[in-house]
């Protein structure tokens, strides 16, 4: 029973993970850059929801558009102020550049908000739970999972059905060929960063409903997102969705097994260690991921 419960909880978390990883994967697909600052974007989304709901005294769920907007602006600002210049340099400079952005945003948050762990206390869904039979779901997590799914579906629709979305996909398949067809690479890159920032901003807003908010949270989620992206395949949108679910389930189910055995090494502390390990094993043995086509 505990196992099924963990499975269901894992799916809800997994939907959120998928949304976090989605933006990372779009950016990677379009311009072949790994954005280390992605987790920090999430953190800023969380703080945005926290402060807007606190200062304007509105429900945290209503702040989601603000979080999305902040995310979009952050993505575009990062692209035009930094990433564009990094593209001229070697791969190592690109890695370090986004790393610098990550550190900058992290310590900016620490500087502005302090190192305290914050939590949203007031809200429509907070503290309430839904019980279906023997299973109890927190409404916050349920909402996070469902809204993540909607956001994901929306972006999926955008990528596959609109002209801009198709242009983005074309750029990610072959940048040069796409540019010969009149698709402006620079603009596509900026759009990829805007979508990346926006989706992860929403994810941050949802996560803030039930998770601690603190400046260094980013690295945890960026590693999870890397694991999802690697598992699903770099550049694959469908892949990242299923990978997110898988990682969510893994992270919830593992501690259930761990609690059966009394050991230093199988406790709940290790739920994310397993995710890192999974990343390592996947990229070594199947670098293209489960659904990937880019290598």
């Amino acid at each position: 029973m505990a196992l099924i419960d963990a499975l269901l909880q894992g799916i809800l978390m997994g939907l959120l993970f998928a949304l976090v990883a989605l933006g990372l994967n779009i950016i990677f697909g379009v311009m072949n850059i790994v954005n280390f600052a992605h987790g920090e974007f999430l953190m800023i989304g969380m703080y945005t929801t926290y402060w807007t709901s606190l200062l304007l005294d509105i429900d945290p769920l209503l702040t989601l558009p603000v979080a999305a907007l902040v995310g979009v602006l952050l993505g575009i600002a990062s692209y035009y102020s930094l990433i564009r210049y990094l593209l001229r340099g070697p791969a190592i400079a690109q890695l370090f550049g986004t790393f610098g952005l990550m550190l900058f945003l992290r310590y900016l948050a620490q500087f502005l908000f302090g190192i305290d762990y914050r939590i949203i206390q007031k809200g429509l869904l907070i503290g309430k739970s839904l019980s279906i039979g023997p299973f109890i779901f927190d409404w916050t997590k349920l909402a996070a999972g469902i809204l993540s799914l909607f956001a994901f579906a929306f972006v999926y629709y955008f990528l596959n059905k609109t002209k801009t979305g198709k242009a983005l996909q074309a750029t990610s398949i072959n940048k040069e060929a796409a540019s010969y067809m009149g698709i402006k690479t620079d603009k596509m890159n900026a759009i990829a960063w805007a979508i990346g920032g926006g989706t992860v901003g929403i994810a941050g807003g949802l996560l803030a409903n039930f998770y601690y908010i603190y400046p260094t949270i980013g690295i945890l989620f960026v590693m999870i997102a890397f694991a999802c992206v690697a598992l699903g395949g770099f550049g694959s949108i469908k892949g990242v969705f299923f990978a997110g679910l898988l990682v969510g389930i893994l992270e919830m189910v593992f501690p259930v097994f761990g609690s059966l055995v009394n050991s230093d090494f199988l406790g709940p502390h290790f739920k994310f260690t397993i995710v890192y390990l999974a990343y390592f094993i996947i990229v070594v043995f199947r670098p293209q991921g489960l659904f990937g086509w880019k290598n």
Partner: protein, 332 residues
Amino acid sequence: MEKLKDALDFRDFSRAEQVGFTIFSIFLLLFPWLGAGSFVKAVMIQFLLFSLFGMGWNTVGGYGGQVELGKAQYVGIGAYTVALTMVWWKIPFWVSMPMGILLAVGYSFMIGYPLFRLKGHYFAIATIATSLVLQDIFANWKLVGAAKGIELPIHDHPDFLYMQFKSDTYYYYFIMVLFYVAIFYMNWFRRSKLGYQLRMIKDDEDAAESLGIDTRWCKIKAYSIASAFVAVGGGFMAVYNLYIDPVSVMDLDLSIKIALMAMLGGAGSLWGPTIGAAFLVPLDRFLGSWLGGHGGLIGLDFMIYAMLIMVVSAYQPRGIWGIIEQFRRKGS
């Protein structure tokens, strides 16, 4: 013997570099007699330590061009080997440090073999992942002190066997000797067969492969050399700080700093890591202590740090040494 001669041979450097290095060496030798305070001494020790780390990273990261962001795990292996064997079995530093190197090298082969199937971003993220896994294990493993870390026993009297001294001056000279061993080794390394092979791999891996270079094996060798360097520094950290925990010796921030100093100074050049460390360590320490005195400015030092990283990555990926060389070329 031949190798030793090569290691001490600095003739292919320009006159300016030779003179600079000589003046720098004299300064290092005389430094403890210049009447610097204990804080400045600690900064100097930190500077030499990070130069050592950076030179290690430079083999695989600079000459080989592999973005390696997991060096902290080897600092941890070196530091934990020294600390644990000293606490458990009272094994002297001079025995436990080589043990730490062996362990680090063994582990680096084990992990390097699958790791170097990967390239580029995949590789960089995988190195972070392995380092985080090891840190998580040490942070939860009760036998090795878990998150609380380990305190080394403090002796009443200075003890050379256990590297316990009352004055920082001894530690300073010890790390200085290690620094010179590293410089001479790197001076030999850059002209060794492996050094040339690595640069070839960095420039064009397919071409290197087609010339019959076993690229993966070359990278693994360089990676294990880097790990040995870093493990030595880790062992030194244990006896110098007398306290280690997973955050102080295995954190991602440490990995980043190591790679960053080498890159900021100039990856793939002999002086690069030292220049980078000379720049960043004092900045880090002085800024940190100055801001510490002005409470409420926590994080500002790292923000300046991060801005530097971004500016260097965007405008001069070849680091400070790259800027110097640019000017020199314009001058001549």
